[in-house]
């Protein structure tokens, strides 16, 4: 049952009845479909992983790598390999010790193509991993590494949980995960909430954390104001002023370098033609789409405006229906006075797809449907649940145009989205020059060269129109002032939640 359909009074009551000893209750727009670090595609999943799992290293408060499941490490003089010692006394939530074999298992599972891990890119730099003894792992690299600990943030899985079964996205681990983090998964509840409990002997200040799916953003703000939640991960821009004026609530910046886009499926015959993609781009009045959902920056490429990689010489695509008509005509389309017809005589028809539980995305989709229809493009909309989204969009590439949002950590590495081999490039974009620039950028140690390369990528990607780049919204999280010692990680949010108290 979704809270979307629950009257506020009932929701408040549920909050009260369900309350245990001072749980921290936070709201997500979308509940994680799975709790499995190998198949994490959503921010809500990444945040939940942060509560339940640990990596060998994590950010300290100054965002430097600090050992977490690791105790120590040693890099060889040639920088081609390292040994990592697993922290003595580290245990899984089922009481078994965390071992070197778990680290090796995790890396191999991520690299194994048959597992189709969405996180494969995070271990591509590791050539091999072997357990030297129960607590020591030797990692060998594909090239020289200066600070390999900076790359060892991915979450470690318990090998014993997969004995006798293969690693699969649909496996039982996704609902019965075993981690080593500050909280263990307690229960998936009927109202789509997830309860996490501090394990026996755990050091987290908060005994219980509850994730509640509240897809209606209006409810999220109200639930926080009426103290049925302690935290909102993302505040809708239009609610910022209200929440700022509530003296029991504090706002924290949580930008996550996020941007919205319409992505064109390059496997779709009609959308392979860049002129068609550009024409559709020019038909869309982006400021008119943004206005109802809040304030933000309209973008011309795959970075937010504050990024060191943003190319400020590239202007956002204008709203220019006349130019769009010219481009479609050049591409062999004809306008019959009502609709555009393709070279094959069939109407230009698109499916616009977005996630079913993102209220703001639904508003945008309906508005763009109206805009495109008024320009002679036949448009259907569809709204997918998370599981269907992962299957249809990520796996089967069964879509015409998707509306979604990417969030990036501070690297703002768009390789996965725009390199032809990128694991997140489900739109199927390919440009040899972009591939070359992205490859070169990964290899350089010169920040100015990297900036120059990425600004070129910005220009090229803009010109190719694989997506309609939309906007970045002002993004804040909100927490009750009851929650003390709050420091929010700029991407994973909960990295330092172990210190939070109420």
């Amino acid at each position: 049952m979704s809270l979307l359909r629950v009257p506020l009074a009932t929701a408040l009551l549920l909050g009260a009845v369900g309350a245990q000893a001072n749980p921290l209750r936070y709201a997500e727009d979308r509940a994680p479909a799975i709790v499995h670090p190998l198949y994490t595609t959503l921010m809500s999943e990444a945040r939940l992983n942060e509560l339940v799992f640990e990596g060998l290293f994590a950010d300290d408060m100054e965002l430097r790598a600090k050992p977490l499941l690791a105790e120590s490490f040693e890099l060889t003089p040639d920088r081609m390999s390292m040994t990592v010692t697993v922290r003595k006394g580290a245990t899984w939530h089922d009481g078994k010790p965390v071992t070197a074999a778990d680290v090796v298992f995790t890396i191999q599972a991520m690299k194994d193509p048959s597992n189709a891990s969405t996180e494969v890119g995070r271990v591509a730099w590791i050539a091999s991993a072997e357990a030297v003894d129960t607590r020591t792992v030797k990692l060998t690299f594909n090239g020289e590494e200066y600070a390999p600990e900076d790359k060892l943030y991915f979450k470690i899985l318990p090998a014993h949980a997969f004995q006798g079964s293969s690693v699969q996205r649909t496996g039982s681990f996704r609902t019965q995960p075993i981690g080593s983090g500050p909280w263990k998964l307690g229960s998936f509840n009927d109202d789509n909430s997830i309860t996490m409990l501090r394990p026996e002997g755990g050091t987290a200040q908060l005994e219980e954390v509850v994730m509640r799916e509240v897809s209606d953003k209006n409810y999220q703000a109200k639930l926080l104001v009426y103290e049925s939640l302690e935290a909102l991960v993302r505040v809708l821009p239009r609610d910022l002023a209200t929440l700022q004026n509530d003296r029991k609530i504090e706002l924290y910046p949580y930008q996550t370098n996020s941007w919205w886009y319409f992505g064109f499926n390059h496997g779709n015959e009609g959308l392979k033609d860049a002129r068609v993609r550009e024409a559709l781009t020019l038909m869309i009045d982006v400021p008119a789409l943004l206005a109802p959902i809040g304030t933000g920056d309209i973008l011309s490429g795959p970075y937010v405006k504050s990024s060191p990689f943003y190319n400020h010489d590239v202007a956002p695509s204008p709203h220019d229906p006349d130019r769009a008509a010219t481009l479609l005509a050049e591409a062999g389309y004809t306008f019959n006075g009502k609709l555009w017809l393709g070279p094959d005589g069939k109407e230009l028809k698109l499916r616009l797809t977005t996630a079913s539980n993102l209220e703001t995305a639904q508003d945008v989709l309906i508005n763009v449907q109206s805009q495109l229809r008024s320009r002679g493009v036949s448009v259907e909309t569809e709204f997918l649940g998370d599981a269907e989204w992962k299957a249809r969009i990520w796996r089967d590439k069964d879509f015409d145009v998707v509306l979604s949002q990417w969030s990036f950590d501070r690297n703002e590495d768009i390789y996965d989205q725009f390199h032809s081999s990128g694991p997140r490039n489900f739109v199927g974009y390919a440009n040899d020059k972009v591939d070359e620039l992205l490859d070169t950028a990964r290899g350089t140690a010169d920040p100015q060269e990297k900036k120059a390369l990425m600004r070129q990528v910005h220009q090229l990607v803009h010109d190719d129109h694989p997506m309609v780049f939309l906007w970045t919204l002002d993004s804040y999280s909100a927490l009750s002032t009851k929650v003390k010692k709050v420091v929010v990680h700029p991407f994973y949010f909960f990295t330092w939640a172990e210190d939070w108290s109420m």
Binding site: T40, M43, L63, R122, S306, P308, E412, P447, E449, K485
Partner: protein, 412 residues
């Protein structure tokens, strides 16, 4: 009533004065109270050069100075012009400190990865450490630039405009291996801070003035000296360190929080300053209600339209954050600045001063949140073109600090 706190408390606070005006007793004690009860005094003050005071309210100190400095000697607007000049000096002083820190950290991080490329980049990085004489081996173009800087520091207004106009351009451009390397000028803000200090001193008519001289001048024109300021009235500034030379930095140390929050703002812990910021919010809510109760109809409109208590509160928090940074407490500064920011307005303007964004960027750089520092600098782009140097240097640092990471990205 105003008083000077004991020396120990002042040292802990780091501010240069305080006031213990409980709103319940004296709602009209601050400049906001005068807005409420004597709106005609406000009209009298701002009417001759309204644009100047509107700019002051918008934290646009360059425009404010341009308008208010047109007033004849002895006119209260001259005090406004002095304040505007030193506020602009303080802004560039804050930016210069950020640029210096980013330049230093960038050099260290780059050295750790094999060293900065030789040539102009190394020369500029070395120059940026102190912004005085150029190191040996500087290209001729930099010698010309140094001459321009010297003119700026001497207060040459044409040179100031020339430097500002080229702030977004690279000071040098080199063809590197496969790309063009742009170098920014790391000393623009340091020189502009000096230039605006010279403007302020000149307008005050005391080229060798100390902080005490400014306070005395402010006390001579109490309303012009305090309207939109982070002190209730200039009597609250009869405090410490008055013998400091008057410049952007010493001016920026002038702010006067209510006694109710002094201890919290001066404490060493993060949670304590966060709580003090909350207390200040409670105090300003109460003060606003008190002012509204005694306001005339016109005064009530001014309270609604100008949001004076929000402005005062932010000024106090920004001042306290600056002191926290100077005392090497960047996490405290971060908490204060997050509390100070009005998130309902994303740009520099009446609700958010440019200094807030600059200090936020510095606090973030100094707590490892280098990429997020760029978010703080972005709103300054339109208003403060010299922020370009800071953005590029902080951007280089952000790239260097994430060079060894594998990026993570997720949907939504």
């Amino acid at each position: 009533m105003t008083r000077c706190l004991p020396v120990a408390a002042l040292l802990a606070l780091g501010a240069c004065g305080t006031s213990d005006v409980p709103p319940a007793e004296a709602p009209s004690a601050g400049w906001w109270g005068r807005l409420a009860t004597q709106p005609e005094a406000f009209q009298d003050l701002v009417e001759p050069r309204r644009d100047g005071w509107v700019s002051m309210h918008r934290h646009d100190h360059r425009s404010a100075f341009a308008a208010l400095s047109q007033a004849p000697e002895g006119h209260p607007d001259r005090i406004g012009a002095v304040r505007a000049a030193f506020a602009e000096a303080a802004l560039h002083d804050d930016l210069a400190r950020l640029v210096r820190e980013a330049n230093r950290l960038r050099s260290e991080a780059w050295a750790a990865r094999g060293g900065t490329p030789e040539g102009a980049g190394a020369v500029l990085a070395a120059w940026g450490e102190r912004c005085d004489t150029l190191p040996p081996g500087a290209p001729a173009a930099l010698e010309e630039r140094l001459t321009l800087h010297a003119r700026v520091r001497a207060g040459d207004r044409d040179a100031v405009e020339a430097l500002r106009a080229t702030a977004k351009e690279p000071v040098l451009r080199e063809q590197a291996d496969g790309f063009v390397r742009d170098h920014v000028d790391p000393c623009v803000d340091a020189s502009l801070a000096r230039a605006w200090t010279a403007e302020g001193l000149g307008t005050l008519g005391q080229p060798e003035a100390r902080l005490s001289d400014l306070i005395t001048a402010l006390q001579g024109e109490p309303f012009a000296a305090s309207l939109f300021a982070p002190w209730p009235d200039p009597d609250a500034l009869e405090a410490c360190e008055a013998d400091r030379p008057l410049d952007g930095a010493s001016f920026a140390a002038l702010y006067a929080p209510p006694a109710a929050v002094v201890e919290g703002l001066g404490s060493p812990g993060v949670e304590e300053v966060r709580e003090a910021a909350r207390q200040l919010l409670v105090w300003s809510d109460a003060a606003r209600e008190q002012a509204a109760r005694v306001a005339t109809p016109d005064g009530a409109q001014l309270l609604d339209g100008l949001a004076p208590l929000q402005s005062y509160r932010q000024g106090v928090l920004v001042g306290a954050a600056r002191q926290a940074l100077l005392k090497d407490r960047p996490r405290q500064a971060l908490a204060l600045l997050d509390a100070a920011r009005d998130v309902s307005d994303r740009d520099v303007g009446p609700a958010n001063s440019p200094s807030l964004f600059v200090l936020l960027a510095e606090a973030r750089v100094r707590t490892g949140r280098t990429r997020e520092a760029l978010d703080a600098l972005e709103p300054l782009t339109a208003r403060v073109p010299t922020v370009h140097s800071a953005k590029e240097l902080v951007g280089d640092l952000a790239v260097l600090q994430s060079m060894d990471r594998i990026g993570d990205s997720k949907e939504n």
